[in-house]
Symmetry: C2
Subunit: 322 residues, 2 copies
Amino acid sequence: MGEFELIRRYFAAAACARMSGEADGVALGIGDDCALLGVAPGEQLAVSTDTLVAGVHFPEQGDPGLLGQRALAVSTSDLAGMGAAPVGFTLALTIPSVDPDWLAAFAHGLDAMAASCGMRLLGGDTTRGPLSMTLTVFGRLPSGQALLRSGARPGDLLCVGGALGDAAGALPIVLGERDGHTPEAAELLSRYWSPQPQLGLGQALRGRATAALDISDGLLADCAHIAAASSVSLIIEQSRVPLSSALLAVAGAEGGLQCALAGGDDYVLAFTLPADAAPGLREEGWPIHVIGHVARGEGVHLLDTAGRAVAPHRRGYNHFQG
Amino acid sequence: MGEFELIRRYFAAAACARMSGEADGVALGIGDDCALLGVAPGEQLAVSTDTLVAGVHFPEQGDPGLLGQRALAVSTSDLAGMGAAPVGFTLALTIPSVDPDWLAAFAHGLDAMAASCGMRLLGGDTTRGPLSMTLTVFGRLPSGQALLRSGARPGDLLCVGGALGDAAGALPIVLGERDGHTPEAAELLSRYWSPQPQLGLGQALRGRATAALDISDGLLADCAHIAAASSVSLIIEQSRVPLSSALLAVAGAEGGLQCALAGGDDYVLAFTLPADAAPGLREEGWPIHVIGHVARGEGVHLLDTAGRAVAPHRRGYNHFQG
């Protein structure tokens, strides 16, 4: 048995691979040519794939436990953006060499996020090469009820599910360019390493939101996806973009706003909502932050506190490097 | 729009991404947070993930068109081993830089194999980093009819779906260690770069084979998986292992046999079959090569032409390097 076969067994023994029962639709997990998923009548399966590459999407020497957490959270967030309920994931892990401590910590972080999200490890592949990982995530949802990017209508409210920019504000700390030893810095770091996919909110938005996605490339860049897919214009009121006190403390008001608008890595939902749908969602306790509205036209338009158009920001999709 | 966004659009324009219709169960393809798959009542979805890393699983400077073909074939073969009908795949492609010629050739090869296998590109991710690719493939099959590794019973025939060892015989040519300018060498190279997943055979074996898998790590290593999962012993008669005339010409009888037993990368099915199931399958035209049988006990046992036990070969899982 080769060392990579041992690693496969190692992951097969992880808690998230041993979750039992067919109730979640997993008829066969790790160990054969394929995993088998059942889908209930009237349901569809949502599928998304994301790759994280060392030195591009995370620091090569980063904490493996945090990396495991973050990798699964980033991928699972696409299910939230679709309104899907979590089912499980496959992990394709490429590592330069077999380091048992690294693997144990990585699997531990992965397990923790899997438990927190209700995701099960279904299978995967372990290979030798430059450090990277590709996760493919699976969720289920009632047929025809997926939250697409294409349904926003003029008059809808434009909303986000929470404070933005924290992960981008953490980036200089992750890179060692800024001090990380303050409580505010620690809060931002936690948002960078352990984003919490808004799975509950996504499911609550089914049948209510007209369009939705998870913000990964930055608010402006991702709103542009909704605007294009829906053939509408999105108007964002700068002063209504929610910023955390930690981000304001670390990056200041102007720097914090830039992180929120163009930073990316938020993994918070952005969605459009008929105005009459907001009160009910708030009553149920969901975080609904109105930041603007949908209008006829095209593109994303930013208004300052006086309601004047701000020069468009083209940035976004701001990966770890380059 | 960044260059990687352009690449995403490039792949979204590929023929295999534009295949139409929900008949195949694809309700939503490329372009949103997730793809959406429908599964008919009474069916299950089979899922498998494979990673290929440059310099480990294929030569860094290899022909991108052949690489695209091979990557999809290798992954799709897992569906054949399960008896699943093809649905589609996601592609996570990591490339060091954007080379339009390379991408065009890669997408062309991918498209050709997708058309040949009936697979549709459902989505994916394009990232910057050392060259590698992770494909996650999807197939469908009637619930409970998947060909597992665990059902082999003493008395069953042990069969393979075609000649073995050709890809392993091609490896010295791929690596430039042996002349590739003979018709036989070209035949082996074609088997290495363009394996044909035995999807039809896999589906024909449903309800007939007691265990099956696709041979990727070498006949002995993969038969050991069936033996272990089924708690039986597999007896292989060395003289019955089918070898192509091209392999015999290039590697000789002994070298060819070693390629077949331990070489890997065949992507031919190995399966166990009640003896009375073989004639019907042959009448339908499926390639059924009996190479031995299933017995009580454990492990894989090799018999020479005189029926004597041959010292066990431990090798297998013989990747491109190391």
